[in-house]
Every structure is written in structure tokens, then in C-alpha cells.
Amino acid sequence: MKALHHRQEICTGCLACEIACSTAYFKTEDRNKSSIRILNNDNTFHANICTQCGECINMCTAHAIYRDRNGVVRINKHLCVGCMGCVGFCSELAMHYSDDLPEPFKCIACGICVKACPEGALEILMSKS
């Protein structure tokens, strides 16, 4: 299974990852449209990112969420009806939405933020589960 991993001990909270993500997918520098969110807790930086756990797959009310062959949990936008149920159901609070977007969005472990991180605090990990 492929998933984004964050090393908080070397993260400086520069937010380059957020900008890279929202720019790549929504052509805007808007952290509210980033699938990775860096949270500052007394200068310790925690990343809110999808663990690819897949809890949202079976609860999806439109059968629109699936795991691809790399183990990444993805949303089929053609099937999604924008109910936002997965946003409320994500235990990691890592399913995001924006009122001007018809579907929610999430990290698909694409690696764009990994390349953008100047500190090397992000990496894509592969696991067998």
C-alpha cells in the first residue's frame, strides 16, 4: 500500500507542501484546497494526511470510493454525489471539501508535495498491507 508519510522532527512548517498540492490540483495557492495540512502545535508540526486506511470505502453512499491497484484510496468523481458523508466519517479528518467544489478531495500519495518539501520531511512509503 502506498501512503504519504510525514517526519515531524525535521518539518519546519514552511507549508510549501500545501501550496504545491493546491496549485497542482486546483491551480490556487489556498491551503483550504490542499490535501495535506500542516498543523502547528507549539512549533511542532503535525501533518494531517490520509493514511489510506480505507474506512471511507464501505461507508460511501454512492459506492464512489475505491482502492486502486497501488493501494491508494481514490474518489471516482463520476460516481460521487457530493454528500460529504466521507468528510464526516474520516477518523483522521483527512477527507476535505470546499463549497465551490462538487466533490470532496483527499491525498492520493502522488508525491508532488514530497518534491516540493525543502527539508525532505515527506516521503511516499510502500507497505504490504
Binding site: 453512499t61 454525489v81 457530493g82 454528500c83 464526516g88
Partner: protein
């Protein structure tokens, strides 16, 4: 290819703030199709859903109209909130007609995709009038704006076959099947008066068609009398903004807050996502509320055999979405998949059973003395596919079984069926007879009100006993709650508009268990507020369950936990977010009351709706028989002492039964007085002109009906 009888093209109206602004009228007799404007007056006074249905029905019928009159209409509407995806329980269709069981308007609230897809196809409501001379099918393609009426003689009757075939016929491929919904009934509907309607939705995980039911009051019977085999709608393109709400951001915010509550709290509260409404079986048994053997007692030592855990562990598929409309994270529409049938025309086949709902397990289980989950599910399946309302069926058959066991009727009278309590095989055979129109099936399918008369006149049964134990009011069978110890719920069932169905008021816990409404005035307020509040779900296209089958974690800290204030506010906000209006929780109640009073006056127009029609069988109030009294003797003796100052040790059993009865019947009358006053009705149950004026419902057409009764 079936013969096409009529084609009609239209330009689908764009949805604006929850309304298409158009309704569709189809006369199935002369194949006339018309478009009607949905007026601002209709939206203001009737909101939508059941309100629109009743408005159209009023204009379609006369006081002389009966269920099988050609002018009787089946009207259906999803309501302005129907079809939004962000909040749970928002895909309901409300269906109304003059009922074959009650001769007054029935209203039924049903899930499945038909209503929302109908609206997004451009129609806020659908009226079906007239009678076809042969079986027909009506197909609406909401994307193309195309309606086809065609012959349907060659199609199967039973819903599980019919809806599968039509879903496959009208879908372009497997993925397209979710865009098709079918309304159908089954083979029994033309032989019984308790026929119901199945509303389908396609389940892409199970790859099968599923159903929810517009069950009460004989809607399926009318459907088949009109020779309608099926309605099919197809609409592709559902998104969060298809309903074109005024304020999408609020819908998203309120919806996500609610979904999070569901995620965090359902396991700790009612486990709706695991078992659905049947979660309450053992709770009802514990509190003496589970109707057993025709409502004689409220539980049974064998109830554990049909407990929620049995269904969860052995029958119901767990862990996947089970909602009957998009966005419903309550996900309570459970199924028993790959269920092997043992009887009837489909014996040996494995099917998907939609259920059991609570009413099914309580009615087809405990109330028939059948504590066998396999038999409960098999009856559930056959009621559904044959098009039989399982509540009316269960309550009627429980009545028949008691009549038989008390030797008021004989096995011969029932065509040889041994319909004693606990005999699941006899019950299943009765269903198959209803399907075939043979034997005792059609007679049993007339429902309790007509059976009482027949059993007395034809079989010599005791009229007084049958009046006491026949659990019907206004001609509709009671739904499955024992409520003898809850005076408020006695009113909650009998003082209803359509008949004793729990969707108007369910006050048993407030009244009996928690003692939150001790005085007549308290009960009267509850029998004002809750029927009005619950009516609102039917105006808007909503399900009641998400309101209080899960509650916020801090709900118990509020002033009125039974109202679930946070969720009431959610409804206010999503209504305003869709429609762009600015109602508050008080106006919400007034929206409902306008329609509630209208429906009451509609009943009066049809020759009912007065105090005499709100009377209840004594079985709903107290112990009819010696065995009933003795089964709860300690309770009843104590009440004689505490409530009436009598000494039960000096009284015979019959004296105790008589004194208990006189007291309880008097209590019911006092309750009726208080409720009528609170609802703004005369002592005969007639809405007053003053109350109608306060509501802005002093319409000349209504005043004309009530004036002779004032």
C-alpha cells in the same frame, strides 16, 4: 417490444431552490398527459410532499369518491428538500390517495430513489388518475424529457422480478442502473385491500434491486385497480447541487456536522448502522411494549430468539452502506443476502430480503407468536414481493389467530388453515393464497374492520369481543407497539388523521417510562407538538429517523431532550438553505399545522374526521380478557388501589376488569377533550374558524366543510 400507447415530450424544468415549479398529471384511462404550474400559493400553504399530494387529491375527488372510483388519484411528491445529498434521510417520497381500508386520505412516506429522480426529471408531483383497461407501464426519462406509456401485460407481477427486469431494460449498462427507479406492487395487491407500493433503488455493491415500501392504507391495491404495473423513472446526474439550493455552504456544514455525529455516536446509541430499526426488539420486550399474540401482552420469554443480535450475527450483511438515498449515513436499510426461501413459488431460490425493520420483527414475529428469525425473514420477503403491507397483514392475522384460538371462528371458516399463534407455515400459506387470490387469502386481505363484520354475520362470532380485540381505528390496522400503559400513545394512535400509525406520534417512552408528560395538558401539548413536527418531514421529503434515532452527545443537557433541539435547528437551517426562506422552529410547526388541519377537514369532507372516528378498541387501552388481566395482575391491582381507591382483595376478577375498563375509558375521553382543545378543535373534533384564521387557512373551501359541524 411492448406496444407503445402514448408518447409525450417535454422540456425538463430547471430546479430552483428545491422546486421544479411543475407537476405532472397523467390520466391512465384516456392517456391524457398535462403539465401543471406549482403556484406560490401551494408552496406557501402546503410546502410540498404530502401537502402537495393532499392539495391535488382534494381537487380530484368528491365526498362520494371511494378507493376504486376512477377519479381517485395516487399522488406522489418528494418535497423541496427531497433529493439533497448532504443530510441523512432526504430521499423520501410522500404518496397519498383515498384508501380502500379507511375511505379517507392515506399518506405514506417511502424511501427509494423514485421521488427525487422524479423531481430532478422536472416534476414536483405526479398525479395518476383514471383506470387503464389493460396493464400499463409509465416510463419517464428525465434527461431527455420523454414520457412513454406502454402495455405491460408480459411483465411479471412480483416486485423482485419486475423491478430487476425493468431496471435492466432501462439502464444502458451496469453503472447506469443506479439512475433507474421503479414503483411496483405485487401479485397479491389485486386480491387484498392492504396492497402496498415498492419503491426501488439499485444497490451497486450487492448488484441487486432493493426496495422501500409505501406500505400503509392500500396504495398498491389502488395501483393495480388502475391497471398500472409499474412506474419507471430514469435520471442521470445527481450531485450535491442538483436541487439548486440557495445556500450550498450551509448544507455542507450542517450535513458534515451530522455525519460526524453519526460516525462518533451510533455505536454508543442505537446501532442503526448495524441493525436498523429492529434494534429496539429487546428494549420493547423489556418494557412490556412488544406486541405479542395480538397485543395481549408486551413481551415473551422467547423474544430473545428474534433479538437484534440474532439478526446481526446470523443474517444481516454488516459493514457496508445501506441507505435508501444518497448521503444517508444512518444507513439503516439492512438486508439478509443470499437468503434461502423454503416455501412458495420461489422456494429453493436465494434472495435478498430488505429487512427486517422493527415493525416486521414485532408484527410478523411476536404479534403472531412466531419467534423464528428464518420465518420472520421469509414472511418479510413474501409480503414485500407480493405487495402486501406487512403491518396491516401482521395485525390482521394476529386478530384472526386470536379469534380462532378463542373459537370465534373455526379452521373450516379459514378454508382449512390452522392459523394458530406460532404457526409460521400457516401464515406463509395465507400469504401465498393472497398472491394467488385463492382460499382464505382474499378474505383475510380485507383487513380487520371488514373482517369483524364478516366474522359476526357469517360465522356467528361475538361482536363485542371482536370490537375489543380488533386492533383497527378508522379502518387502518395499528402498528406494532403495545401501548396499554401509555395513555398519551393511545391518543398518539387513535387521534391521528390517517389512522393508527406511529409516524404521527410515538410518546410511549416520554409518557410511560420517563414520566415526562404526567398531566392531561402535558400529554395534550405532546399530542399537538409531535404530530405537527413529524408532519413536517412529510412536507419536505424527509425521513424521521435521523431526527432522534441518534442524538448529540450533550442532548440530555438541553431543556427539552425529547425534541432534540440541535437537530430541530439543523432542519430549520437546511430548509432555509434549500429554499432561501427564513423560517424558525415556530414557523416550522405552523407549516405543518396548516396541512394537518387541512387533512382533518379533508377527512370530515369524506364523512369521517369527527370524535366518533377517533375512538379506540379497548385492547389498545387495557386488559380485555381475564387472561390479560391475570398476566399483569399485580400492576392492575395496584392501579385499582392507587388510582381509584378500591380494594382489589374484595373484588372478583370480572369486577376488577370492569372497574379498570371504566376508569381507562374515562381517561381516554378526558385526554381527547384536552387534545382537541390544544389543536384548536371543537369537542367533536372539528377545527374552529378562529384557529384556521390564525393559521391563514380560512380558505372558503374549508369553511364550507366545517360550518355545518360548528
Amino acid at each position: 417490444m411492448s406496444k407503445i400507447l402514448k408518447e409525450y415530450t417535454y422540456t425538463p424544468a430547471k430546479i430552483d431552490k428545491g422546486y421544479s415549479g411543475k407537476s405532472l398529471y397523467i390520466h391512465v384511462g384516456d392517456l391524457r398527459i398535462e403539465e401543471k404550474e406549482v403556484t406560490e400559493f401551494m408552496k406557501e400553504k402546503f410546502v410540498g410532499g404530502k401537502g402537495f399530494d393532499l392539495w391535488y387529491l382534494w381537487h380530484a375527488v368528491t365526498p362520494e369518491t371511494r378507493w376504486d372510483s376512477p377519479e381517485n388519484e395516487i399522488v406522489m411528491s418528494a418535497g423541496p428538500l427531497g433529493g439533497i445529498t448532504q443530510y441523512s434521510g432526504t430521499g423520501k417520497t410522500l404518496v397519498c390517495a383515498i384508501s380502500p381500508l379507511t375511505d379517507i386520505p392515506i399518506d405514506s412516506n417511502v424511501g427509494g430513489y423514485y421521488g427525487p429522480l422524479l423531481k430532478f426529471s422536472g416534476w414536483d408531483a405526479l398525479e395518476l388518475q383514471g383506470k387503464a383497461d389493460k396493464d400499463i407501464l409509465i416510463f419517464i426519462d428525465g434527461n431527455k424529457g420523454h414520457i412513454i406509456i406502454e402495455e405491460a401485460d408480459d411483465l411479471p407481477e412480483d416486485s423482485h422480478l419486475l423491478a430487476e427486469e425493468l431496471t435492466s431494460r432501462y439502464a444502458e449498462n451496469e453503472q447506469d442502473k443506479v439512475n433507474v427507479s421503479v414503483v411496483s406492487t405485487g401479485s397479491a395487491a389485486k386480491h387484498v385491500l392492504m396492497g402496498m407500493l415498492n419503491f426501488s433503488f439499485y444497490d451497486p455493491r450487492r448488484k441487486t434491486v432493493r426496495f422501500k415500501q409505501a406500505a400503509r392504507g392500500g396504495l398498491g391495491t389502488i395501483f393495480r385497480d388502475k391497471h398500472i404495473k409499474a412506474l419507471v423513472v430514469k435520471y442521470k446526474g445527481i450531485k450535491g447541487d442538483t436541487n439548486n439550493p440557495a445556500d450550498l455552504a450551509t448544507l455542507n456544514r450542517v450535513g458534515i456536522k451530522y455525519h460526524k455525529q453519526m460516525h462518533d455516536l451510533d455505536d454508543k446509541q442505537n446501532a442503526m448502522r448495524k441493525i436498523g430499526t429492529a434494534n429496539t426488539i429487546m428494549v420493547m420486550d423489556k418494557y412490556d411494549l412488544l406486541p405479542t399474540r395480538n397485543f395481549q401482552t408486551g413481551g415473551d420469554p422467547d423474544a430473545y430468539k428474534i433479538s437484534p443480535q440474532v439478526f446481526i450475527n446470523e443474517y444481516l450483511t454488516q459493514g457496508i452502506h445501506d441507505g435508501c438515498w444518497y448521503g444517508c449515513t444512518m444507513s439503516c436499510a439492512k438486508t439478509a443476502d443470499h437468503f434461502p426461501l423454503k416455501t412458495g413459488p420461489y422456494a429453493g431460490q436465494c434472495v435478498t430480503v430488505d429487512g427486517p425493520e422493527y415493525e416486521c420483527a414485532a408484527g410478523l414475529g411476536a404479534n403472531l407468536g412466531i419467534f423464528d428469525p428464518q420465518a420472520v425473514l421469509e414472511q418479510n420477503f413474501y409480503c414485500d414481493t407480493y405487495g402486501i403491507d406487512l403491518i396491516s397483514y401482521a395485525t390482521t392475522v394476529a386478530f384472526i389467530m386470536e379469534c380462532y384460538e378463542r373459537e370465534e371462528i373455526s379452521q373450516e371458516d379459514m378454508g382449512g388453515l390452522d392459523l394458530r399463534f406460532g404457526n409460521a407455515q400457516a401464515s406463509l400459506e395465507l400469504m401465498h393464497q393472497m398472491s394467488r387470490g385463492e382460499g382464505f387469502g382474499p378474505l383475510a386481505g380485507l383487513g380487520i374492520k371488514k373482517l369483524k363484520k364478516i366474522f359476526v354475520e357469517r360465522f356467528g362470532a361475538d361482536e363485542n369481543l371482536l370490537d375489543d380485540i380488533g386492533m383497527e381505528n378508522k379502518g387502518l390496522e395499528y402498528s406494532e407497539y403495545l401501548h396499554k400503559e401509555s395513555l398519551a400513545q393511545q391518543g398518539g394512535f387513535a387521534l391521528t388523521n390517517k389512522g393508527p400509525q406511529h409516524d404521527e406520534a410515538w410518546l410511549i417512552f416520554m409518557d410511560m417510562v420517563n414520566n415526562q408528560i404526567p398531566s392531561f395538558e402535558d400529554k395534550a401539548y405532546a399530542l399537538y407538538y409531535y404530530p405537527m413536527f413529524r408532519t413536517w418531514f412529510g412536507l419536505c421529503g424527509l425521513c424521521k429517523l435521523p431526527w432522534n434515532d441518534i442524538v448529540p452527545a450533550d442532548n440530555y443537557l438541553t431543556d427539552t431532550p425529547a425534541k432534540v433541539p440541535e437537530h430541530v435547528q439543523n432542519y430549520v437551517e437546511i430548509f432555509n438553505a434549500v429554499t432561501g426562506k427564513n423560517i424558525d422552529k415556530e414557523e416550522l410547526i405552523l407549516q405543518s399545522e396548516r396541512v394537518y388541519q387541512f387533512q382533518r377537514i379533508f377527512n370530515i369532507r369524506m364523512g369521517k374526521g369527527l370524535r366518533e372516528h377517533d375512538s379506540a378498541p379497548y385492547r389498545s387501552m387495557g386488559p380485555v380478557t381475564r387472561e390479560e388481566y391475570l398476566s399483569r395482575q399485580e400492576r392492575y391491582d395496584k392501579q385499582l388501589q392507587e388510582l381509584q381507591g378500591l380494594d382489589p382483595s374484595t373484588m372478583t376478577l370480572d369486577e376488577k376488569i370492569a372497574k379498570t375498563r371504566a376508569y381507562r375509558e374515562k381517561q381516554f375521553e378526558l385526554l381527547t377533550d384536552a387534545v382537541y382543545k390544544r389543536r384548536g378543535w371543537t369537542n367533536n373534533g372539528v377545527p374552529t374558524i378562529e384557529r384556521l384564521q390564525e393559521l391563514g387557512m380560512d380558505l372558503p373551501m374549508l369553511l364550507e366543510i366545517i360550518k355545518p359541524h360548528l
